[in-house]
C-alpha cells in the first residue's frame, strides 16, 4: 500500500492481531456450547486480517502465512466433506456426529465432538474466502489506472512471490 504508515496504528494492530486470533480460536472451539462457531470464528480471524491489510496492504497480508489462500479453501472443504462422509462409511447418515469425553492434565474433563471438526472446515473456508477477496481485489498494483502496466510481466508480482 502507500509507503506512509502510521506507527501507532501499526503497533496497535500487531497487539490486537494476536489477541483477535486467540479470540477467534476460542470462538471456534467454544461454539458448540456458547456463542460462537466456525463461521463467526472465521469472520473474527478475517477481521484481524483486515486490520493488517489496512495497516500494511496486500504484502502485509501475504506475509502472514506462506500458503496460498485457496489452500485454506481446499483444506476446509476437504475437512468438511470428510467429516460428512466418515459416518456414511460407518453405516450412519451423513454428518452424524459423536462426542467423546477426555481427561486432560491441565484442563480437566473436556468434551470433544466431531462437530468441531466440521466447524473447523467452515472456519478455514471463511478465512480462505476473505484471503481470496484481498488477493483478488486488494492488490494495489492492479488498480484500473495501473492496468496498462499489468500487461508488463515485470509488474505482475503474483507469480514471483
Amino acid at each position: 500500500m502507500t509507503p506512509r504508515r502510521s506507527l501507532i496504528f501499526d503497533t496497535t494492530t500487531r497487539l490486537l492481531f494476536d489477541a483477535t486470533l486467540v479470540l477467534s480460536a476460542y470462538l471456534l472451539f467454544a461454539g458448540h456450547n456458547q456463542p460462537g462457531g466456525g463461521f463467526v470464528g472465521g469472520l473474527v480471524a478475517s477481521a484481524a486480517v483486515a486490520l493488517r491489510y489496512i495497516a500494511g496492504g496486500i504484502d502485509e497480508v501475504r506475509s502472514l502465512v506462506n500458503v496460498q489462500p485457496w489452500t485454506f479453501l481446499a483444506a476446509g472443504l476437504a475437512l468438511a466433506v470428510v467429516t460428512a462422509l466418515v459416518p456414511l462409511a460407518l453405516g450412519d447418515g451423513p454428518l452424524n456426529q459423536d462426542a467423546y469425553e477426555v481427561q486432560l492434565q491441565l484442563l480437566g474433563k473436556v468434551k470433544a465432538t466431531t462437530a468441531t471438526v466440521f466447524d473447523t472446515g467452515v472456519y478455514l473456508i471463511v478465512i480462505g474466502l476473505v484471503l481470496m477477496i484481498f488477493e483478488g481485489l486488494g492488490d494495489e498494483r492492479t488498480e484500473p489506472a495501473d492496468l496498462a502496466e499489468a500487461d508488463d510481466p515485470a509488474s505482475d508480482g503474483e507469480g514471483a512471490r
Partner: protein, 779 residues
Amino acid sequence: MLLALIGLHAVLGSVVLTAGRRLGRWGLLIGGLAPAVTVVAALALAGPVLDGDPVTSSVSWVPQLGLDLDLRLDAFSLLMIVLVSGIGTLVFVYAWHYFAHAPKAGRAAGLLTLFAGSMLGVVLADNLLLLYVFWELTSVTSYLLIGIDDADPDARAAALHALLVTGMGGLAMLGGFVVLGQDAGTYQISELLADPPTGTAAAIALVLVLLGAFTKSAQYPFHSWLPGAMVAPTPISAYLHSAAMVKAGVYLVARFAPAFALVGVWRPLVVGVGLLTMVAGGLRALRPFDLKQLLAFGTISQLGFLMVLLGIGQPEATAAGCALLLAHGLFKVGLFMVVGIVDHETGTRDIRELPALGQGWGPTRAVAVISAASMAAVPLTAGFIAKEKAYTAFVEGGAGDRLVLVGIVAGSMLTVAYSLLFVAALLRPGAVAGETERRVADHAPTTWFVLPGIIVATATMVLGIAPALWSGLVDAAAGALDPEASAHLKLWHGVNAPLLLSMATLAAGVAIFAARRPVGRAQARLAPTITGLEVYEGVVRGVLRFAARTTSIVQSGSLPVYATIIMATAALAPGLAMVTGPWWSGLPETIARPAHVPVAVLLVTGALAATLATRRFAAVLLLGVVGYGMAALFVVQGDPDLALTQFAVETLSVVVFLLVLRRLPDRFERRRPPVLEGVARVAVSAAVGVVIAAAAFATAGARTEAPVSREMSERALPDGDGKNVVNVILVDIRGLDTLGEITVLVAAAIGITALARAGRAPGSRSPGRADPAPQEVEP
C-alpha cells in the same frame, strides 16, 4: 450379477477414457473385454432364461421416487444382448484395425465401452426411470462418439443435431413414463406390462413415449439426424446405427406393444410412422453417392420395418420382428464394415470415385454380397427367413393387415433395389456411374481387418441355411414379449403366398434398380420441398432468435433497471399475499424495552443519512452503522450468537466494500433523472419500505403452528451434544445445508478471484486499453 456387468462397462470405459491418449488402440482391447464378458455371462445364464424364467436383481436406490435399480434379463433382453454385446465385441475387433493409426483410438474405445454399458442398461432395466437414465446415457455417449473429431465443425453439428433431437424425444418420453408410472402405481416395467393402465391419461402418455422411441430410432419425420451422424468413424457408425443405439426405440416399442397396442392411437401411429419411414427411407437410399449415406437411409428404412413388426402388437408379427432384429443387426454391421474397409484402404466411399476392387478384395466382396443379399432377403440368408416370417404374419389377416402387407412389400422392393445398388456400386462402380474405365485399388485389406466381417457374413449364411439354430432364441424372445408369439423359423414352408410374394419382391426390386434413373427423376419431382434437415435447422434458428430477443429484453445491462425489477418483485409478491391473506392479528408490541429507543434512533438515522450521502465511502460507512444497529438490536433481544455474527460480517463487509469502491469515483454521479424515472424510483422505494415494514408486523402475529425451534432446543443437547442451539442447527440438524453453503462460499471465492484477475491474465485483452468500454453491454 447383472449390475456387475453394467458396472464393468462403466469401470473399464472410464479407465480407458482417462488413460486414453497413453493407451491408444490398446484401449480397444481393454474396453472390448466388457462386452465380451457380457456375452459369455449372458450365454451362461441363457438356459433358464430361454425356458421363460428371467434372471432379476434389484437394489434400492431412491425408493421415494420409485427409482430402484431393478434389472431383469428375459429372453428378449437376451436377444438384444446378443446384438449389443455380441456384435459390439466384433466391432471392437474391427476397430482395432480401423483405428490402427488414429490418434483418438483410446478416446473412442473408452466412449464405445461406456456406450455399450448404457445400451446394456437400456435392455436390462426393469424400471421406467432407470430405463430413462440409461436411455439418456446412450444419447450423451453417442453425442460424444459422433462428434469425436471435435476439430471438424460438421461432426460437432451432426453430434449436436443427434443430441437435440433424441434429447427432446427423451424428455417427452420421461413425461410419458411419469404419467404411466403414476397411473399404474408402479414404475417397474414388468409389473406395469402385466397390468397395463388403459385410460385417457395412459393414451396420452403412450404418445409421449412413442415420441421418444421415434426420435431415437430415426423414424420420419425425426430421421434427419441419422444420415448426418455418419460423419463419425465407421466402427462407431457400425455400432451405433446397426446394432445398438437406434435399436433402443425399437426395443422400447417392442416391450410395450403387446400390452398397449390397443390403447389410444398406438397401433395406427406406430404402423403409420413405421410404414412411412420404411418406404420414404428406401426411396431416399436410392439416391446418395456416398455408400455410407446409402446405408444410413437403408437403416432408417429397416428401422421403419422393425417398428411396424414389433409395434403392431400381433403375436406373429412380434416373432417376425425378433427374427428381423437379429438378421438386420448381422447384415447391417457387415455392410458397414465393408464400407469402412473400402474407405480405409482407398480413401473414398463416393460411388463416383470408387476404384475397382481387384486382387485381394475377395473376402471383402464376399462379405458385401452376402450381407446385401440378406438385406434384400435372398433365400438361404437370415434376412430371407425373417422376411418370410414377416410376410406370413400379415398375409392371412383382415383388411388392415392386407394394407400393412402392401406397405411392407413396397418397402421391401425398395430394399432389394438399394441392396443391388450397393453391391453394384462396390463391385462395378464404372457401370453404375456410366463409365468404362476405373483405376484399380492400390492395396487390399489384410485378412484380419476383414475377419469380423467374415464372421458376421458366415453367421448370416449359417442362420439362413439352418434356421433351427436360432429358432429357439427368437421363439423365446418373442414369447417373452407376448406369450402367444412363437417363431418356428423354417427354411422351406412349401410354395405358398409369402414365398410367391418374396419372389415378386425380388423381381420388382431388380426392375426398380434397372429403372433407377427414371425413378430418381420422378422422385426428385415428387420429393417434398422441405427436408427434415431444413426443418431442424429452421427450428434451431427460431429458438436462437427467440432466445436472443428475450435476452435483450430481460437482460438490458442496466443496473438501475435490474434493481427496480428485483425491488418491485420483492414488494409486489409478499404485498399481494398480505393484502389477500388472513394475516392481520393486530399490531405487535413495538417498543418493549427502554433499550430499544436508542437503537431505533441509531438505525433510522443511519438509514436516512445513507440515502443523503453524496460520497460512496460515506454511504458505505453509514450502511455499516445500520448493520451495527441491527447487531445491537440482537444484543438487546438476547441473541449473542446472531449479534456476534452480525458484528463480524458488518466489519468485514465495510472493508470489502471499500476495496471495491476504490475503483469507482469518490462521489455519486450528479445526474437528475428524467421525471418519470424519478417518480418510478420513489414509488418502488416507498413500496418496498411499506411492504417490508408491514411484513414485519404481519409475520410477528401470523404464527399458526407451534414453532419448530422448541423441539430443536429440546433435542440440541441430547442429540447434538451442544448447548448452543444455533451451532447445533448449523453443524448437525442442517449440517448438509451448511456443507452446501460452504461449497457455495468456495465457488464464490474462486469467482471473485477469476473476475478480479480477468484484466491481468497473460495474453488476455486489457480492459484498460484494448476495449475502451468493457462495462457497457451492447444492446
